[in-house]
């Protein structure tokens, strides 16, 4: 923390994301998330294209520090240089990694192989736990009896 005054007006993404910035982001994104484990790389998922636009709409405040990070990294950074931003420019690093990872997990190319379907909701079935109880899952807990401590001044009938 802190001591910063609250911000009352949301930062808006008024800075254009150029084609050059998108190319740089693609290169950095593939360093951060190469393909593996049956999942695409960040570039292949499109984090520098439509996903970046979605991220910018959701979090316009991330765009300026993202561009700062890309500018600081130059044309051909290695992973070590990218990770070094965490020390030299932590706000830019946080924005860059959130844009890349946040965009990545928005892609159906990623969520489908993971069987991650948060848009499919499932209303609770109250019978689930009650059925487990009926099967005897709580029997031994009940059999062991009370485990709370009764203070000496508890009212009559409560163990005192």
């Amino acid at each position: 923390m802190t001591g910063q005054d609250p911000i009352r007006i949301e930062a808006r993404a008024e800075v254009e994301i150029t084609a050059d910035a998108r190319d740089r982001l693609a290169r950095v994104a593939d360093l951060l998330i190469p393909a593996g484990a049956g999942l695409p790389s960040a570039r292949a998922a499109g984090v520098h294209k439509g996903l970046l636009d979605q991220v910018a709409r959701a979090r316009p405040d991330l765009v300026p520090p993202l561009l700062d990070a890309l500018a600081a990294l130059g044309d051909a950074p290695g992973l070590a240089l990218v990770e070094g931003l965490a020390t030299t420019a932590p706000d830019a690093y946080a924005a860059l990694t959130l844009v890349v990872a946040g965009g990545y997990v928005m892609s159906p190319q990623v969520t489908e192989p993971l069987r991650y379907t948060p848009n499919e909701t499932e209303i609770v079935d109250p019978r689930d736990t009650l059925n487990a109880v009926a099967e005897g899952l709580l029997d031994q807990v009940r059999a062991r009896g009370p485990i709370y401590r009764v203070p000496p001044d508890a009212p009559p009938g409560h163990g005192s």
Binding site: M1, R8, G38, D61, A101, V105, T129, L137, A154, H158
Partner: protein, 532 residues
């Protein structure tokens, strides 16, 4: 003096909401001033691809990160734990996990039983009928008969499902012969009043998009509007006004443009949480402070140090789904056993692990580097295949742990607060011992990997103790009914007045105690001396 209302409440969180409802039912004219605004649930984006991106900003738990309407700077540079809260209608029930825990009988008698802390001026059984009443107000779901608590009436709704995660945890605890019980939560498991049945989005701490979680903006404030209650948002209270006899005459607040307004009231009730309440008391009398002849305002801050143990499994447990909330809790090792090297105890609860960024962009999922070749592997290993045991330790009061005003005012010129807080040796020993036991549970559950986080500095959800209640005006700020010893028509109903913290989630006790205090005030209102 012509008061604008019979009672003026500061803060629209759970204590303010419960009190407002009780006052309104008795026919009192109520005004509540809330520094934040109504929650904007259009930003509760679960089910949309940008859910986590939006949540990390608009539903951030730390006000220093969120920096929304009503948030003021909390300087935690001198604190081991950061303070989390939501400043807005609903207070921190907007972001809480809704784990609903009655305090234990021993929590009210820590001095008598263990020689630490202070006994409360009432006991569990005095509070029991109020617990029962607020459990109906908060649509609590659970199962009667938990042997970790005295016998009580069943909550109004059946418990949340165990799902694969909860069943695996329950079976492991059974093999160890340790206590567990299906989770009690302020989460509707069927349509209930203004709430709808939970649809398991695992989004409880990020503004419930379904309207299943009992946050008091939904359960209390919406229904109260137009029933004798006026709720003013974006109203930051600067100070309580006293007359020449030392009676509270009302407050001064700043509106969203910083314009000061004076509002008069017969009774003032502070429900601004354990940081906000001392902030107002310190800043009153033009900064000289009020209600502090004991010197205890701001002292005895308790934050409930929190730890967790993450287990990663081979099987797909669909653990991005479910209520958070708790599937189950365990109080097996809650009561004191001095052979463990500490006094008092902790509660454990089992929850699903949630959405992908929460387990990839965080400091609590181990030391393994995530970027580069490991990212996709770790994402696949963790998402849906991990569970989290939470551990809440009782935090004993220490006068040196405290809240003070600082010289960094908010945008309206009202001073912010600084925390001075250190985790005690007793708490550290307690946490490490409990994390070791929870680690054993993960072994029995079959976890292939464990990540243990004893005391997470960024999580201080439960703020208590900074205007302690007691019978002795020399050592406490308020009487057992919340009435300030020094100012007879000024009350505090929030968790500031808790003498000790318990080792369980406090909202049930905040709500029950607020109801107890409000009912007492209503019964005594004819005899109260108001400002002239």
């Amino acid at each position: 003096m012509h008061a604008a209302c019979d009672v003026l409440i500061v803060g629209a969180g759970p204590s303010g909401a419960v009190a407002a409802q009780e006052f309104a039912r008795s026919g009192m004219r109520v005004i509540c001033l809330e520094q934040g605004d109504w929650p904007d649930y259009s930003r509760a984006r679960h089910g949309h691809p940008d859910y986590e991106l939006v949540s990390r900003k608009h539903w951030a738990w730390n006000p220093n990160d969120r920096r929304g309407v009503g948030d003021y700077a909390v300087d935690d540079t001198e604190s081991d734990i950061s303070a989390l809260m939501y400043n807005g209608v609903g207070g921190s029930t907007v972001l809480y996990a809704a784990q609903w825990e009655r305090f234990q009988p021993s929590d009210f008698r820590t001095h008598t039983l263990d020689g630490v802390g202070d006994d409360w001026p009432f006991d569990y059984w005095d509070l029991e009928p109020y617990y029962e009443e607020v459990e109906r107000q908060f649509a609590v779901s659970g199962l009667a008969g938990d042997p970790a608590l005295p016998p009580a009436k069943a909550p109004p709704l059946p418990p949340v499902p165990l799902n694969k995660v909860g069943r695996r945890g329950a079976e492991a605890l059974n093999r160890l012969g340790w206590h567990w019980w299906p989770g009690t939560n302020a989460i509707a498991t069927a349509d209930y009043g203004p709430l709808r049945a939970c649809d398991q989005r695992a989004a409880c701490p990020f503004g419930c998009p379904t309207g299943a979680k009992a946050s008091v903006d939904r359960t209390h404030w919406r229904p109260l509007l137009g029933k004798g209650v006026r709720l003013v948002v974006r109203a930051s209270v600067e100070q309580v006004l006293l007359d020449e006899r030392g009676r509270a005459g009302g407050v001064v607040y700043a509106d969203e443009n910083g314009v000061r307004h004076r509002i008069e009231a017969g009774v003032v009730v502070l429900c601004a949480n354990a940081l906000g309440t001392p902030r107002i008391l310190f800043n009153s009398a033009d900064g000289s402070g009020i209600a502090n002849s004991s010197g205890m305002v701001g002292r005895r801050l308790m934050t409930h140090p929190f730890g967790n143990a993450i287990g990663i499994f081979d099987e797909d447990l669909e653990s991005w789904r479910g209520p958070i909330g708790q599937y189950l809790h365990s109080l097996q090792f809650y009561e004191t056993d001095r052979s463990r090297g500490f006094v008092r105890g902790a509660k454990w609860n089992l929850i699903p692990s949630g959405a992908p960024l929460s387990m990839m962009l965080t400091t609590t999922w181990g030391d393994e580097p995530i970027w580069g070749e490991s990212f996709t592997r770790l994402l696949r290993e963790r998402l849906g295949r991990s569970v989290i045991w939470g551990v809440i330790c009782e935090d004993l009061p220490d006068p040196d742990n405290r809240v003070t005003l600082n010289d960094r005012p908010d945008e309206h010129g009202i001073p912010g607060v600084s925390l001075h807080y250190r985790v005690s040796d007793n708490t550290r020993a307690m946490m490490h011992w409990h994390i070791d036991r929870v680690s054993e549970v993960l072994d029995v559950m079959g976890a292939k990997q464990k990540i243990l986080n004893p005391i997470i500095p960024g999580i201080g959800w439960h703020l208590m103790g900074t205007a302690v209640m007691g019978r002795d005006p020399d050592s406490s700020v308020v009487a057992p009914d919340g009435q300030c010893h020094d100012v007879p028509n000024l009350y505090v109903f929030d968790s500031s007045i808790f003498p000790t913290s318990s080792g369980t989630n406090p909202v049930a006790t905040i709500a029950a105690n607020a109801l107890r205090c409000a009912r007492s005030l209503v019964a005594r209102r004819r005899e109260l001396e108001v400002a002239s």
